[in-house]
């Protein structure tokens, strides 16, 4: 259980007694944690630990058995506009006839009601965001012609355009080249400076230490949630990943 309550002001995200059953097999059991504002939080765990389910149930995309979730103290409905979600790349049909610019502009949809058209200054904002992600030259290119890394950057650009306070990213670094990974991390660090909180589902243990300052370690149940030094310990890793976890941990030490 997180021993120390970092800051006293309202946490970015607080989860109480969240448990999710898929029909009658438990996927998540009694998750309780709170994360202060302005942290990059890594959600780590072995396959089938329920990482994506955790995010989906937090955003009420799947119905959970029980649980009370509050964002910056209030419910999801009030804070909907301040939350951005970057889905896994595999859930999207990539030969959809749409250009990169239009995908990014979808980030503005929450602010736009039905009748407002996409104006020129919206386009300018979109170009700026694409610039920051290094995809300005691809603006009019069809998304089916992009590589994995570029697609991920477009998704990130779309999330940036929403300029939310809390970001949820589902495996952004899966199948992405090193250059993209670094540029993504730069943007994410930039967001951290702007007091934004980011929750990133991640599976590569080696980069955990350098990327994240907070970690949620889970395997169907919550093993630990807190700053890296406290939670990302050898004991917790072995508990989460079982015996192989230990070797993984040692290898990781070599790299440090």
């Amino acid at each position: 259980m997180a021993k120390v309550m970092a800051q006293l002001e309202t946490p970015a995200l607080s989860v109480h007694h969240l448990s999710v059953y898929y029909d009658d097999t438990p996927v998540l059991w009694d998750i309780n944690f709170e994360v202060p504002v302005g942290n990059i939080v890594g959600i780590i765990g072995p396959n089938g630990a329920g990482k994506s389910t955790l995010i989906k149930s937090i955003l009420q995309m799947t119905d959970c058995l029980s649980g009370k979730i509050s964002f910056l103290g209030t419910t999801l409905k009030r804070k909907r506009k301040k939350i951005a979600y970057v889905p896994q790349r595999s859930t999207v049909d990539w030969d959809f006839p749409i250009s990169v610019l239009e995908v990014v502009l979808m980030g503005l949809y929450p602010q736009k009601n039905f009748f407002s058209w996409i104006g020129d200054q919206d386009k300018k904002k979109a170009y700026q965001v694409l610039e920051s992600v290094g995809m300005r030259s691809f603006a009019d290119r069809q998304i089916s012609q992009l590589s994995g890394g570029q697609q991920q950057r477009v998704f990130l650009a779309r999330a940036l355009l929403q300029d939310a306070d809390i970001y949820f990213m589902d495996e952004p670094f899966a199948g992405v080249d090193i250059a993209t990974e670094h540029s993504l991390m730069l943007t994410i660090k930039g967001l951290k400076e702007k007091k934004k909180t980011l929750f990133i589902v991640h599976h590569d243990l080696n980069t955990v230490r350098s990327y994240f300052d907070w970690v949620v370690l889970l395997n169907k149940g919550l093993i630990g949630c807190g700053p890296i030094e406290e939670v990302f310990t050898e004991e917790n890793i072995t508990r989460a990943y079982g015996k192989e976890g230990k070797t993984l941990f040692d290898v990781n030490k070599l790299f440090k």
Binding site: Y21, S66, K220
Partner: protein
Amino acid sequence: MSFDLISFFTDPVLRAPTLGSIFMCISSSLVGVLVFLRKRSLLGEALSHTSYPGVALAVSTFAAFFSPSSDGFVFAILFFAFLSSVLGLLCIDFLKKRFRVYDDAALTFVLSSFFGIGVLLASRLQTTHAVWYKQVQTFLYGQAATMRDVHIFIYLALFIFILLAVLILYKNIQMLIFDQNYMRSLGVQVRYTEMLFVFLTCLAVVVGIRSVGVVMMAGMLIAPALTARCIAKSLKQMFLFAALFGGVSGFLGNYLSVSVPELFPGTRFVLPTGPMILIIASVLCFAFLIFSPPNGLLWKKLSRKKIKSKILLDETLKFIYSRPGKLASIFQIKEELSISFLRAYFILWILFTKRFLMLKNGSCCLTKRGSKKAIDIFKCHRLWGLYLIDFENDCRYSSLYDLTPELLKDLQEFEHVKYNHGEK
């Protein structure tokens, strides 16, 4: 004129439709299993429509040789319909592979364009060979009642052919469905099995149209396979159950369409045999989908409700226990658990009856029994979390509430030894 069961197989009028549709249903359900497992169940619907131009072509070429309702003519129609549905299937695959068209768009495109071409040819026929045109119409909607002995032999031959194909090539089919690359690695020709699959599907669909009609044929491919899917554990079982359900619905369809009108002798109450067969098959399928014991919808929903209500009870107790003075008002409970007032009342009512709670100046407070129970729940939940994390590959228990006391005991020692920090 009462109909007893045996007469269905002996009486000349009833024999042909009953036997014919039983064989047809069994063979179509066998093929249905293949189609269902390859996730292309709507192939039946597409193939039955793409066979229409073949039928119209057969009429225009063979009209000169055969009289409108001679048996030879039926074979000619079947053959041409088969050819045109095979062509349709090849078009679908070509569109999917070469032009990466989504598979259901390709299916619908081929379905409606072949049907349109069929309509064009048939309207040409309407003027020149009116009687054949009428024959084609009855062919489309299926006329199970007027099947004769010659049809029994057609369906018997079809049934035997499909049965042999499935038995002999069982392994190939299993590999084709499960994993094609593994099959290629073994050097077994995927193309031939694929061709066989195409051949069998078209044959079953086209031959079945005559008795059940175009749309019902598509259903007969899906319903038995889906029913079998709910209770079968292995592919072999799936084939057996599907064949059983197909045969049963074939027979029952005929039986009901004859005996039900008997109950109303006076009126011209008529139940067509084709649609009845499909209705029986679908009703069987719905029943099994919902009520079949292990994973029927009803059981799953029941077990989920049971777990949800139990957890809610536990949460309320834990919440009240953790409140100062073990005291909480109904609003705080409702707020904490984010549930509706009605639910909150219901939960509190249960807790009161079990004497875990008692009323104390307007809010609920834990009784002695209640607080002991709460401690027990805390321990139980903690251990269950532990069990989930550490005993990951031991999937004996799926739910917290069937944890046995002795397992709890040794979980506790495990926790004590491993982490030597026991919480409260």
